[in-house]
Symmetry: C2
Subunit: 100 residues, 2 copies
């Protein structure tokens, strides 16, 4: 069910469980608990859900280049809007400090 | 003093204290403690320093568009490499869960 945020950006409330399954491939760079093991990659744990949606869409739409963006463009290219919403819900649900 | 990371990306080790002073303007969107108050903006607290450097440089070099990127392009345009290193060091030093 799409909701509207204060700033008017539509967010599709994702399914964190479905996102967890989808995130298996992301763990290689972003860590099992959403804390990246590689310094140049972002931690995703506890990140704002709406931001994660907009960032993934920016990679998917090739609106981000520079740094590691080409890697993420490839990862995001095959994601549906539902995948993106679910991944965002999953990572937003994780403790920001990487705790269990 | 510039250092090299495992992935070969040069990072200038920033000065977190100088970054704290520079971050006053960032708090409006990213929160006093690096936890964004606006859902579409990213939390920065405890984020990987090298990632923050590459993201800020991508905004400065207009390599990011989409979402709130235009706002960040304006913010990053006036930052020197030293400012970027200091801001990255500051936000990376903050507790990821927004604690004191």
């Amino acid at each position: 069910m799409a909701g509207m945020t204060v700033s008017g950006m539509a967010t599709a409330a994702g399914d964190a469980e479905a996102g967890k399954a989808k995130a298996a491939v992301c763990a290689a760079c972003h860590g099992k608990n959403g804390i990246a093991q590689i310094p140049g990659y972002p931690n995703l744990a506890g990140q704002n859900e709406a931001y994660l949606v907009s960032a993934l869409k920016a990679y998917k739409n090739k609106q981000r280049s520079g740094g590691q963006a080409p890697v993420m463009q490839g990862q995001a290219a095959g994601l549906s809007d539902e995948d993106i919403a679910n991944l965002a819900a999953y990572y937003a649900s994780l403790p920001a400090d990487g705790g269990e």
